[in-house]
Amino acid sequence: MRLPRPRKARQRESTIALINVIFLMLIFFLLAGTLAPPMDSEVALIRTAEAESAEPPDALFITSDGRLRAHGIETNVGSFVTRLKMETRSEAGSPLSAKVAADRDLPATRLVEIVGELRAAGVEKISIATERAAE
């Protein structure tokens, strides 16, 4: 007569190894990445190779057809500068500075126009955010 063998108790999968791996990944992302404000998905940043590096921009985005976007919604120079002034009021005395993140295919004339408008609205230091190509 054939009798079933007694079943072996299944060994529990070791969770320690799993935790180790996840922990390593966590540490990797902590060290290797930089926390960044969300970038506008419609804008492909200008590439540079040599410019001085900077922290991820919280900037005024300009799409390739010249629309202005900030914090994910469309805006214009006036309301962007108003908001910028409110945000930086705490550190009074320092010159108002803004970052512009333009699409790489935006006509340069339009970019210069927007920079001029920003300057006319009272922003003293304007820089263009770019992404550094890998070296």
Binding site: T15, I16, L18, I19, I22, F23, M25, L26, F29, L30, A32, G33, T34, L35, A36, M39, L45, I46, R47, T48, A49, E50, A51, E52, S53, A54, E55, P56, P57, K99, A102, D103, R104, D105, L106, P107, A108, T109, L111, V112, E113, V115, G116, E117, L118, R119, A120, K125, I126, S127, I128, A129, T130, E131, R132, A134
Partner: protein
Amino acid sequence: MRIEFATQRRRPLPLTSLIDVIFLLLLFFMLSSTFTRFAEVEVAGGRASSTVAAAQPDILIRIEDGIWTINGRDFPEADAISELKRLQDNGASKAVLLVRGDMTSQTMVSALERVRRATGLMLSVAR
């Protein structure tokens, strides 16, 4: 008579909740961090009105299809920088990059960056 308590068996640490938390942290950092390196290029100038007229630039640069026109003379891109250096050695200090036609932002910023890096000219942008 003294009776020893039965030694309690230590329960294993609950690992599930620990994994949950670490997993959440991992997800958060994976989604919110970026590996792109950013840089910034400062722009001076803006409209070709007051600032440029007042400053009286020594050098005018125009770029069209990779040809740099510096004070009216055409140079290929490689020679343009050395020409700018030569002008700077001869006493020029202010330069203006004229933005015309269908130049893209990428071209403009690349040119700004190259000139800034290679020379000490005060470069501004005008239309």
